[in-house]
């Protein structure tokens, strides 16, 4: 094995054979000095030699600026969409409680079970009600607020618009009047041109009933108004869904399938062999099956858009025997309000944290890219 000493000796010998050009380093230094001579001061030299590659701070600032611009563009582009618009979603939910009408809806949008009856809740105190009528989130209150039969917010703008209307109502009637309310609702549905889709009754000490009524879409507000008159409305929940697109799509597909079927039938008349006939017939059968399925869907959709559905749950006042009534002082209200606002504050903070984390992530990514880019540029330059 060759030794280190031999290598050092040999390489030194070879290297010594190369005469160092005496003026070379001076020439190099002369090339370097003019830059200082031309520069008025050190600051300008620093600036000139720092133009490229940029300093790390420049990279960071550039990356941060790029990220901010990207975020702004994303917000601007994203801000053009209005998802909350009823017309965009084609679906509107109206939830209203009589208690909201009497005392307003809480800041959190939940429906409080508060009785306005002087007998059951003296002094207008808050009444806790068992799970008979679970609170539902209130979305809008412009409809049904007056208790009258105002129309839902989504109204067919023309004959082509197909709207599916559904609703549910929690009704409280006087003791022993549950059956009477069911009868009255049934009668009312028939008067309006509708029918009872289903009905359930529970007897005993605390009788209750649930009736599902179907009435023509145009009569839905009237039915709601009539139902309100039968007792105390604990809550109302109505929904309207625009299914026009689905309806038109079904019709178009049916039309297309009809044309295809006609074509195959035409081919069938020209088929000469049994194999051809069987093959084409199979195609026709398949298409017919699809047509039947689509027609079924269209029929269901037509039925849903023609008749609105209202489910009424009826209880009698005796069912809220166990309610606990407690008066809330001004201090208690203030505490509740404070807690509510605290929760809202926390929610707001959490809501803001998301975008901040996103921005931080993007900045970190930009910083990383800038660092890598800077190193690559430096490596290439050096």
């Amino acid at each position: 094995m060759i030794t280190d000493e031999l290598l050092e000796r040999g390489l030194g010998e070879i290297a010594d054979g190369y005469d160092v050009p005496p003026q070379a380093i001076d020439d190099i230094l002369d090339q370097l000095r003019p830059a200082d001579a031309v520069a008025p001061d050190d600051t300008d030299v620093e600036t000139s030699h720092r133009r490229w590659p940029p300093s790390r701070h420049t990279w960071l600032l550039s990356s941060a600026a790029a990220v901010v611009v990207l975020i702004l563009v994303a917000f601007i582009v994203g801000g053009g969409h209005n998802d909350g618009s009823p017309s965009a979603g084609g679906k509107v939910t109206n939830t209203v409680s009589d208690r909201e009408n009497a005392a307003g809806v809480g800041a959190d949008g939940s429906v409080k079970m508060m009785s306005s009856s002087p007998g059951s809740a003296p002094g207008g105190g808050t009444v806790s009600v068992p799970a008979a009528a679970p609170p539902r989130p209130a979305v809008t209150r412009d409809q049904f607020a007056s208790g009258g039969g105002s129309t839902p917010s989504v109204v067919p703008s023309d004959s082509l618009t197909k709207i599916v209307q559904t609703g549910s109502m929690d009704l409280q009637v006087d003791k022993g009047k549950v059956d009477g309310a069911v009868v009255a609702l049934t009668k009312q549905a028939r008067v309006l041109g509708g029918f009872v889709a289903s009905s359930q009754s529970v007897g005993g000490d605390e009788p209750s009933a649930s009736v599902t009524l179907r009435v023509p879409n145009s009569s839905f507000p009237d039915l709601l108004a009539q139902a309100r008159g039968l007792g105390k409305v604990l809550s109302v929940d109505t929904k309207s869904a625009d299914v026009t697109a689905q309806y038109v799509d079904l019709q178009a597909r049916l039309h297309a399938l009809g044309l295809t079927k006609s074509t195959y039938l035409n081919i069938l008349t020209k088929a000469s062999t049994i194999g051809e006939i069987l093959s084409v017939q199979q195609r026709v059968n398949d298409i017919q099956t699809q047509i039947d399925q689509l027609q079924g869907q269209l029929k269901v959709l037509t039925d849903q858009t023609s008749y609105a559905t209202l489910t009424v749950s009826i209880d009698q006042k005796a069912s809220i025997k166990s309610v606990v009534v407690h008066h809330q002082s001004g201090l208690g209200k203030a505490v509740n309000r404070s807690v509510s606002r605290f929760v809202h504050g926390v929610e707001a903070i959490i809501g803001v944290i998301g975008p901040i984390v996103l921005v931080l992530l993007l900045v970190a990514l930009g910083w990383l890219l800038a660092k890598v880019g800077y190193r690559i540029v430096r490596r290439q330059m050096v």
Binding site: T3, E5, L7, G10, I14, V20, I25, I28, V382
Partner: protein
């Protein structure tokens, strides 16, 4: 700035000869070192302090040499190296003859080494860089430098031009 000039002035001869050993062309070596020194000047703010300064300088020099080497393919093309004819004379005629023969054999053997082995050998045994500085200069891990030096020594020992010298060393 004066310090930098002084440092470059002092480092020039060895850097130049290192480049000569890598490139085997004084003219190319001069150009490469000039280019490297200009880069050093340009990026003088990035020069590390302490012991890392020399490694950094050789990194720039080696990069300049490799750029030239890979661009011009000068190494393989040069077989008429006249360095041996320009070896300085020594007082001991026998030693002079021995060194000249060693330089000739080593030069031939070095020429047959691939670039990735030749550069560490030059940096280690001529420029005197420790392995960690060679790692900085060629931008590889110290372990890689170690294995490359070992491989280079093995190949040089097995090279027909140096086999005799290796045997002599063993005999001594």
């Amino acid at each position: 700035m004066d310090d930098l000039e002084a440092w470059l002035d002092e480092a020039y001869p060895r850097a130049y000869r290192t480049a000569c050993l890598v490139l085997r062309s004084p003219a190319d070596a001069e150009d490469a070192v000039q280019e490297a020194f200009l880069r050093v000047w340009r990026f003088r703010d990035a020069i590390p302090g302490g012991d890392g300064r020399r490694a950094w300088l050789y990194r720039v020099v080696v990069n300049a040499c490799l750029s030239r080497l890979r661009g011009d393919k000068v190494w393989r093309a040069r077989t008429d190296d006249d360095v041996l004819q320009r070896l300085p004379s020594q007082s001991d005629p026998q030693r002079e003859a021995e060194d000249a023969a060693l330089a000739a054999c080593l030069g031939d053997a070095l020429a047959r080494l691939p670039e990735h082995l030749r550069v560490p050998v030059v940096l280690r045994y001529y420029s005197g860089l420790p392995e960690k500085d060679i790692a900085v200069a060629i931008q590889r891990r110290p372990g890689t430098v170690k294995s490359r030096l070992s491989e280079a020594r093995r190949r040089l020992s097995e090279d027909p031009a140096l086999a005799e010298w290796a045997g002599l060393e063993v005999a001594r």
